[in-house]
Amino acid sequence: MAFNFPAFSYIIALIVDAFLIFFSLFHVIAFDELKTDYKNPIDQCNSLNPWPILQLVLPEYLLHLLFNILFAASGEWFSLCLNIPLIAYHLNRYRTRPVMSGCGIYDPTSIMNADVLTRCQREGWIKLAFYLLSFFYYLYGYVIALERDRIEHT
């Protein structure tokens, strides 16, 4: 069974997406901790920015971008279109991040404002849902790609 490029990009997307699901779970949990006062915001932002949430941000964006580039290369336009809004959102989010020397997007001084906190948390949940759904879609896409391949070869 040949392993064509679309199938490859789907399997990569599948794997990466699993990570992304993790990331967004982490994101949700981190903000929940903040909200429930479990963690100090400086701490949390340091862990998010430099590492988990704040710094988890850039890896997430890059990973997401990565498999979309694969989609583009393999001509999976529909899958790409599904992801374009999220890419645009990420770009915008990063472009409008608060002034800071690191590469995070969360500012410990404003993150405790209830509106910011709520927005971030909601963002986490929505992304989680999106990644989950797309996980199954990629799985489906992968099977389809293989099927297509098989039909072509037979």
Binding site: E33, L34, K35, T36, D37, Y38, K39, N40, P41, I42, D43, P98, V99, M100, S101, D107, P108, T109, M112, N113, A114, D115, L117, T118, Q121
Partner: protein, 1169 residues
């Protein structure tokens, strides 16, 4: 470092104190069941208020909290007009207003809405109503001066009795006395000055009632002659001229009729100092060298000169003699004598005026005027059948009646009469006398409740005569009302909380609280006890508003948990007996301070540690600030707050860092210079911060050398970032206060900045660069905050220093920022101001390693904080230092329906280490009732507090979005609030005019002032630094200072002898002129003999040995009483180059690009639906 333990948030000393937190934490968990919780910093995260309503915190901000952004179409803006036409237009819209609203809720015992009882609509003829009015009017000033010997005898009830007895004679006299004899303004004012008891005397003689009926003034507005006369009418005081006796009527209280016309004006505005303008004092006995200030020679309005000369010097003297004050009779004779016709005449005319729109009342009719009726009714209110009748009609909660017999006139404001006609439909529809009576009664009621509306367009003089007091919170129980937190400390944007979010949205009012937690208090109960009683669930401190289930248990008023009461709480330390817990000071006072036991400390309380970072670059040396700073420090070294452990250190920086070692045994301070600033280190581990007492001599030596030490420097660089890093290193072991003096842009080393401001864009509509250029200072501030180090900034710049960026170091470390633009020691005014400010800064109270937690009743949540601090968790602010001049704001959201509770509470607990090394907790609790109708909500609004909160929100908006967004938001807030008010009136669209409730009538004025404030104005050249600093002030100033910043107080000081007398804090009498609107129409040109005697730089009032001068000085001192430090005084001549300093504060008038107040109102009117 922070560790993810549950009570991490509680540790206010997170760094460098490894052990204790964990241990404590575990212990706590184990012991939590059987033992009261001990917490750090008063806040335990796992038991925080949050836990009581887990989901509550996440609420979104109701959109009502955010000013909607609604662009104003250009076409809808009023066309630009020349200033003159603007004024004329202003004038044209005016109506006669006899009652100047006078709010003086402060002293009243009743609810805010409770109006002057004198105003009750009532049925006529029998009542001696009128007398009440004067009485109240006069009484008010007296109540204000509680200590005046005379007052006490008259209780309201007593007076009522008196009136009743007088009834018959009065009515009889009514018919006879009708002709208004012109009365001198001076007479009137004299009368006003009379103490209370006088008045009552007056009433007791039937004569006093003679003159009820003045011819009603029915002048339609359009008939008013355009210019000069018009202006006269605008000014409340001037009304005296047209209606001889008018002013005295009830509401008016203390106004000082005639002063307006006379020119001298004193403006009180702190930053720049008051401007005194003297003009032509009628009797020049006073300050002879002062000259007239002719502000606006072309300004149309000249107010009719009133004769004040009649005021006899004798009278005045008597007023100022305390002894004479004690005998009420002293004054009374004068009144009657001088006034000829008793002053009460005014009532009639006033009243008539009120209703002139609605009811065609013949000018001198004998019918009883509605106003009188109102008074009558009020008098009879108790016990008369009518009472019930009225009660039935009133839809509002009536417990006020039950509570107090006659509220001492909470809000004296009386609506401009004409508007009453618009108040409700029914009134307009009936013509019969009976119905008229009803309408009047209704109007009277609405006034009684404080619910009358004002037509802003008709009534430009919205300022109350003395000062806008915070509305009272009425909880329905006198005891609780008294126990409630002072509005100076804790204030909510409304005195009644809407029962659910949709009601809040409907009212369009922002909901939030402002708090001034560390305010200097004259009386503060301090408690030292073994166990601080707190709710076990939400950790609320016990307060006056808890419920006692029985003698052993209490129910928390925030989370409703029932808690045990410790044995010792029933012990009364005063009487040394056991028994009723309500005798405890905790239950009696809502502002209280505990001396915290050891459980509230993570480490021993830190000593006071002060570090001074001095900029010694070329610009700094040129400004000469070092001389002032060092000399003040030298003088105040002994007065720095602290105990024997107090430490102090100095560090100078330009492109290098200059350390001063003050080691023991040195005869001279030892200077060490570090040139490598990229990787800073301390040249010596100790002796940089030294004990103040031990090394006093060395420190003095250093301070005397410092000013000249760098005289020859040509170093243009300033390495602020490196200096701060070093400062942080020096302080991090203990925490403390770093004071930075910065004169030039920090352009060297870490955190270097470049000049971002484009001078050509200073007046453009789009202001950029409001946000920091980098996050160096913010990050450093967070580190400082973690180590309990606060950084205060004194910016004495002459060029752009990028306050937007460097202020980060103070904003997030709980510091404060002072700004002296274009500072030069040679500028006396600035220098004096700087020195006063710095002196106050050095000696004021200070709290170290502080945290503040705000809790609120379940169902509410606090979602956005304003001020200088770092938010460490959803309700915990980390404040490395707290000072008495710091204010904070919080926006509040309603997340659950509150209809099942009666009241909600906010509690702020500030845990700090005093300069004496004591750990203390200061707790403030505010309790507010719940309201369920839109009317209630709108009428409970607190306009000043709303402005305070709005300005903070607008600053956020300008930083996050843009300045124009913030400006639009302001306008939209005004539009929305007025629209929702209109909606609540149910008037339909038929009404004309721009109606505003009594409690919000100054709001549009403030908003138009805000739009012209340095922080938010566009079109006028404004330096970026000044703008940013003004924005920071908006976020951090306590409300009373903020309001003065937004809308300075303007007083005429030429006529002090004819003013109402009030008592200052030392109980000395002070003449108090009425406040004037900030408009050129309030100024007048009169001649002054020696105009040239005022130099361009006159910064003090000469002290002369005469009465006028003493009075003036007393008045100025009185104005200074509330301020953290006395304001500097500047006397400005009309033709001096400084006149613009004064003129630019006349913010009601049209300036180049900004609408005048009247135009602004017209714009609002087109938008209000």
């Amino acid at each position: 470092m922070y560790q993810p333990t549950t009570n991490m948030a509680e540790q206010n000393l997170p760094n460098g104190l490894p052990g204790p937190p964990h241990l404590e934490n575990k212990k706590q968990n184990i012991l939590s069941q059987e033992k009261p919780h001990y917490q750090f910093n008063g806040v335990h995260s796992s038991h925080s208020s949050r836990s009581s309503s887990p989901s509550a915190r996440m609420g979104q901000i109701p959109s009502s909290h955010l000013p909607p952004s609604r662009p104003i179409p250009q076409s809808q803006l009023p066309p630009s007009r020349s200033p003159v036409t603007a004024i004329a237009q202003n004038v044209a819209g005016l109506n006669f207003i006899q009652n100047t609203p006078n709010t003086n809720p402060k002293f009243t015992t009743s609810s805010p809405n409770l109006q002057n009882s004198a105003n009750f609509g009532q049925n006529s003829a029998f009542s001696p109503i009128v007398p009440t009015v004067p009485k109240q009017q006069v009484a008010q000033p007296n109540t204000e001066l509680e200590n005046i010997p005379l007052t006490n005898t008259n209780s309201n009830t007593l007076e009522n009795v008196k009136y009743q007895t007088n009834t018959v004679p009065i009515s009889a006299q009514n018919s006879t006395v009708r002709n208004p004899t012109p009365v001198n303004s001076s007479q009137i004012t004299n009368q006003q000055l009379q103490p209370f008891s006088q008045v009552s005397n007056q009433f007791s003689s039937s004569q006093a009632y003679q003159t009820f009926q003045n011819p009603p003034q029915q002048r339609p507005t359009n008939q008013i002659p355009p210019q000069a006369p018009l202006i006269r009418t605008q000014i409340p005081t001037t009304t005296v001229t047209s209606f001889p006796n008018v002013q005295i009527p009830s509401n008016q209280s203390p106004n000082q009729p005639s002063n307006l016309p006379q020119v001298p004006i004193m403006q009180h505005h702190r930053p720049i100092g008051p401007y005194n303008v003297y003009s032509n004092p009628p009797t020049n006995e006073g300050i002879s060298n002062v000259q007239s200030f002719n502000l606006n020679p072309n300004a149309p309005p000249k107010i009719l000169p009133l004769n004040n000369n009649q005021s006899s010097p004798v009278t005045v003297q008597a007023q100022f003699r305390p002894s004479s004050m004690s005998s009420p009779n002293l004054y009374q004779p004068q009144i009657n004598r001088t006034n000829g016709p008793p002053t009460t005449q005014n009532l009639g005319s006033q009243k008539a005026n009120l209703h002139s729109n609605r009811y065609p009342v013949p000018p001198a009719s004998n019918t009883i005027l509605p106003h009188q009726q109102a008074n009558l009714q009020q008098q009879n209110f108790q016990g008369t059948p009518q009472q019930q009748q009225y009660q039935n009609r009133i839809s509002q909660p009536l417990n006020v009646y039950q509570k107090q017999v006659y509220p001492a006139q909470p809000q004296t404001e009386h609506p401009p009469q004409p508007q009453l006609g618009n108040l409700t439909q029914p009134q307009n529809t009936y013509n019969t006398q009976h119905n008229q009576y009803q309408g009047v009664a209704q109007a009277g009621f609405s006034r009684y409740w404080g619910t009358e509306s004002y037509d802003l367009l008709q009534n430009p003089n919205v300022l109350p005569t003395i000062k806008i007091e915070a509305p009272r919170i009425s909880l329905g129980q006198e005891l609780l009302d008294q126990a409630n937190c002072s509005p100076d400390i804790f204030r909510c944007t409304m005195t009644k909380i809407p029962e659910n979010n949709s009601l809040l949205q409907k009212s369009r009012l922002p909901l939030g609280v402002l708090i001034h937690p560390f305010r200097d208090l004259s009386h503060l109960p301090v408690i030292q006890c073994n166990v601080i009683v707190r709710c076990r669930a939400c950790r609320t401190y016990i307060n006056p508003f808890v419920f006692f289930v029985d003698s052993k248990r209490w129910k928390c008023n925030l989370c409703y948990r029932i808690n045990e009461l410790p044995e010792e709480f029933q012990y009364d330390p005063v009487s040394k007996t056991y028994g009723d817990p309500s005798r405890r000071p905790e239950i009696k006072s809502s502002t209280i301070e505990y001396i915290a036991p050891a459980e509230y400390m993570l480490r021993p309380p830190q000593p006071a540690v002060y570090l001074y970072l001095l900029d010694v670059s070329r610009l700094a040396i040129e400004s000469g600030y070092l001389h002032s700073t060092c000399s003040i420090l030298l003088e105040e070294l002994k007065n720095l707050p602290g105990d024997a452990r107090t430490q102090i250190g100095f560090l100078a920086f330009d492109s290098a860092l200059h350390f001063y070692s003050l080691a023991e045994g040195l005869s001279q301070p030892h200077e060490m210079t570090i040139l490598d600033i990229d990787d800073v280190f301390l040249p010596t581990p100790d002796n940089l911060l030294v004990n103040l007492k031990d090394r006093m001599e060395l420190i003095k030596e250093l301070l005397s050398q410092l000013p000249t030490r760098y005289n020859n420097t040509f170093d243009n660089n300033s390495a602020l970032g490196a200096a701060l890093q070093v400062g942080y290193k020096m302080m991090s072991a203990t925490g403390g206060r770093v004071t930075v003096f910065q004169a030039s842009l920090p352009n060297f080393g870490p955190g270097a900045l470049t000049a971002r401001e484009d001078a050509s864009q200073r007046s453009s509509a789009e202001v950029t660069q409001l946000n920091p250029a980098n996050d160096f200072y913010k990050r450093l501030a967070l580190e400082c905050s973690g180590q309990q180090v606060a950084v205060d900034l004194f910016i004495v710049n002459s060029t752009y220093v990028d306050i937007a960026t460097i202020s980060g170091i103070s904003r997030f470390s709980g510091g404060c920022i002072y700004h002296f633009p274009l500072f030069k020691t040679s500028n006396t005014l600035q220098c004096e101001n700087f020195e006063k400010c710095f002196r106050r800064y050095l000696v004021r109270k200070i709290g170290f390693e502080a945290v503040m937690r705000i809790r609120c009743t379940r169902g509410l949540s606090i979602h956005t904080f304003h001020g200088n601090f770092f938010v460490r968790s959803t309700d915990l602010l980390s404040l490395p230092n707290i000072n008495p001049d710091a204010g904070f704001g919080m926006q509040v959201a309603i997340e659950e329906n509150l209809s099942d509770v009666q009241t909600v509470c906010f509690q702020a607990a500030l845990l700090y280490t005093s300069s004496k090394g004591e750990r203390r907790i200061r707790v403030h609790t505010m309790c507010l009732p719940i309201a369920s109708t839109l009317q209630d909500i709108i009428h409970s609004a607190d306009q000043q507090c709303i402005i305070g909160l709005l300005s903070k929100m607008a600053v956020d908006r300008s930083m996050q979005s843009s300045l124009s967004d913030a400006r639009e938001a302001f306008i939209n807030v005004a539009i929305d609030i007025l629209s929702s008010y209109k909606l609540s009136l149910n008037l339909g669209s038929s009404t004309s005019g721009l109606l505003a409730p009594n409690c919000l009538k100054v709001l549009p004025l403030y908003i138009s002032a805000l739009l012209k404030h340095i922080a938010f104005r566009i079109g006028t050249s404004t330096r970026l630094d000044d703008r940013v600093k003004a924005m920071i002030d908006m976020k951090t100033k306590p409300l009373y200072q903020l309001i003065q910043m937004i809308y300075p107080d303007l007083y005429a000081i030429h006529n002090l002898e004819n003013q109402e007398v009030i008592l200052n804090s030392e109980e000395e009498p002070v003449s108090m002129p009425r406040r004037l609107q900030l408009s050129a129409r309030c100024l007048e040109n009169t001649g002054v003999p020696s105009y040239d005697a005022i130099s361009d730089q006159m910064y003090e009032i000469p002290v002369l040995d005469n009465l006028r001068n003493q009075r003036l000085c007393q008045f100025i001192n009185y104005l200074n009483e509330d301020k953290p430090f006395t304001a500097t005084v500047q006397v400005i001549r009309d033709n001096s180059p400084n006149r613009v300093v004064f003129l630019e504060r006349l913010i009601e008038d049209r300036v180049e690009n900004a609408l005048s107040y009247h135009e602004f109102l017209q714009h609002l009117k087109t938008q209000v639906k």
